[in-house]
Symmetry: D2
Subunit: 295 residues, 4 copies
């Protein structure tokens, strides 16, 4: 199959490689000419046989909006656009409608696996019509890991379902990471008793209830830096985690661990906490408790 | 009434003053000779008419244990000890038994009001027998604020009930403070829209649902330092908050806001968070996300 | 001053009464003819002297949108609309712009106090231009409680600031309520030790750190029903609490207590929790733990 | 090696089987004569060659205390007791001292793997002296899964370190389960959009960041009952989760996700929530909001 990819960042470039390794022809376009196969989107469209299949792998939000809008102007009826980026599922409804006006089909594909996807394959959650999903199946099969299709690929529902599932995946991911991290701190704090924190995580890899891929990554990180001395406890967050909370609120779903994981990241990035300044101020007012003066 | 007080720190000294202002005779003992009325506990006991009433107002835990033990050796049958400190309610059972062996009575008194108690009066929650509570009522009436007794005093149950109620009071207090603090940060963060954060808290003092004494204290703090520039977001916690969580766990009571308030204080005291180092390490492992290198 | 009010529900009708009691002339319109002073909005507009002042007090969202849109068609340059409902602050930007196109001014007014506002007065947080806020001051002064203006009224910023402040107020309110509620359960659960739960809350009203208006309301509720036997633990939530979380997420503000309060309400309305079904299922899978079969 | 096991419940019996399958001689004692190899502890001791190795696998707390006390009376210097149950690590200190007085050695072994341990092997975290741990290694090697020893076994420190590590393991386990469960509810709630919830979990098994053994168990559970109709959202909790919170509090470690997971279990077991009754009562007091009357 001949596939176009727009966006050749870390993820897009890995996908191009993996698709080519599995026998697909891929033409990639990126604003960065050094990694791009073609000079512009027009050339990309020209290079692809109709009906075309264009995989979009650019940052969610404004950039994806711009790319989809541009594509809606140049693609023709029967073409198929797959948004493999981390778009919000509500954006999918807009993008699908925009393209549908030109007879262009749309699939949203949530993609998991990070930088390991190139070698391991990517977990895929897609939304769209059964017909279009079937049409793109050779691409999905090349991108996903070896093994039974249903263990790495799901057609989750109509347009939007793929990104919704990916959003929830990332919300869970945040909470899982925070869970291990709290355990790490509980072990690390008792260095009077616990003499081998990395060894404990290593030993959890087989037989235990908590074994997982994230655990293996933590083992790897502790192998490289047993006390995490080289790393600061400063953690960014991205759209999906936030949207997960917002959807939870919209649907009255209690998400105490996912929200705790997000809030911990917010706090990790603060030099000083306005909220805790207020608590310190209050405590000083009623108790005459000493406060730490800011420098 | 002639009352003995052991412990003349901030709280004990204020109580001595308030009791004297209201016509009671008070003999106070403190290890600090500069504030003490007598040289030692022996002199204190001697100064008091039998049956004696001794109010203990020293730090909870080891110090209170030591004082109660000492008192059990010198008091005589019919005397009454009131522990007004922040003891854990489970300690009360031990202390009461120790004294009962000598025929000495025991009341546990939870005291709220902080440094404002001297002028405003102290809120009181007490545990013990009806007879002993009645006997000490003149002391309680002098310590508590003006107004109907039931609005500032409660006989909550047998020994331990007073400190249990005080423990819960402090757990609530932690959560209330955190609630306002989160609101403060939400207002402060939007300085593009909100032009008068202190004015908002001030305006909440009458008519609103969130009006409270803590709110008034926050208004006071913001009057003194409208952007809380002089204060660091570093907050200690004391026994009661922690015991509240422990009792919640023991009794299967969900306490998400009280625990959140405690955890926020723990985080506020960390230079760097081991947990968030672990999250950053994980994120770097799977996503190739850049991490902030520790210095 | 002659004021128009649109919306004579519980809050709007109370405001009409309070304004009239304080000497203002009020013409109210409501779809319910039994409480309305006029037959329709056209009559209301006609009844008011230009430049008019119209206070809108209808449900936030679609209803408020419709009323503002209707007003933008019938009001004339120089008139002033005040939205006293619980609108989302982002809606204020839209409403202000819509009216500004006709030369009509706009103020957003967050109103707190519930059904007690009629007698106690309402706490007010407003957003808009200094000029318009000054113009409407007689109305604000009549609605707010007696006492210094700054203790019940704040001009928080330009349009949107009033409803933003009210949103935060309600977020705090949710967390405060949850804080007391957790304390209530901690006391109630230990009925072996605690013999007078209502008495404890009553005794916290003077002298303690946790005294507040909400505490007084809880005392009132426990006076009426000491074990809360007549009431089910089923709690609705409204827009402001949810928006508070959403804004917290948008602005990277950690709000663990406010979110915990919302989630507790979500859970309170569930017959069975899908999440806890999943946990039970997992537990059964790895531990062979017995599960409770659904009926 | 000839090993004694006390306690032949689900876990102990599985261990006996696994040890025998791997060539060890095992004499097991249980109060239930139907599963026991000997009539009483005396016979067990007699059957074992000195120096003896006795693995204790009985419920934590009082039962374990009783067994250790009994063993301290019948074992002789040089014998070794391994507590493989879910004892609190602080109990280990007491048990080790009790036995040391008789010259009997002690190892605490945290064991993970549930009912799957028989076939998969058990993850092991042990505390004790290097010498005794080395001595018992053939037992550990037979119990743990195939593969490198360090991936399923850790000597975490001196006595207590094994159970501390296991306690933290279980705290993490609780939070991981809750994380997936919140994701499940987010997916299940949007049945308008998401058409294959079990398929999504199934597809996460390869390639994704959230893949884990718990995920596989959830897939298995959803295979058996795709909508979890047969199961009630009622979840017990056991000691380790509670102790994790207690230790977190003792060591000032923030554990928002682990505590959220525990609290969710507490709530899942309540017919009605006293806390939410209090919130409903408050809401009714200030807002005139309708409450749901209890039946």
């Amino acid at each position: 199959m001949h596939i176009g990819i727009i966006g050749l960042g870390k993820m897009g470039a890995n996908m191009r490689d993996r698709l080519r390794e599995r026998g697909h022809e891929v033409t990639g376009y990126d604003r960065n000419a050094q990694v791009s196969d073609v000079a512009d989107v027009a050339q990309l469209i020209e290079a692809l046989p109709a009906p075309r299949l264009v995989w979009v792998m650019v940052p969610a939000g404004a950039v994806t909006d711009a790319v989809i809008t541009e594509l809606s102007g140049v693609l023709t009826a029967g073409d198929l656009v797959i948004d493999g980026g981390n778009s919000r599922f509500t954006d999918d409804f807009v993008h699908a409608e925009l393209l549908a006006a030109k007879g262009v089909h749309y699939i949203d594909a949530g993609v998991s696996g990070g930088v390991w996807g190139l070698t391991n394959g990517f977990g895929l959650m897609v939304g769209g019509s059964a017909e279009q999903v079937e049409r793109a199946m050779p691409v999905f099969d090349a991108l996903r890991p070896e093994g039974p299709r249903e263990e790495s690929f799901v057609h989750a529902g109509e347009v939007g379902a793929g990104h919704y599932a990916k959003m929830v995946h990332n919300g869970i991911e945040y909470a899982l990471m925070q869970s291990y991290a709290e355990g790490y701190e509980l072990l690390e704090k008792r260095d009077d008793l616990i003499k081998d924190v990395p060894g404990i995580f290593k030993a959890w890899q087989r037989g235990t209830v908590v074994r997982s891929w994230l655990l293996e990554l933590l083992v790897k990180a502790l192998d490289e830096d047993p006390e995490l001395r080289e790393i600061e406890g400063f953690v960014e967050d991205s759209g999906e985690g936030r949207w997960t909370i917002e959807e939870a609120i919209n649907n009255a779903v209690p998400v105490p661990t996912i929200s705790a994981a997000i809030f911990a990241r917010f706090v990790s990035r603060q030099d000083d906490s306005p909220a805790m300044k207020a608590v310190a101020a209050l405590r000083s007012q009623f108790g005459g408790h000493a406060v730490k003066k800011a420098d």
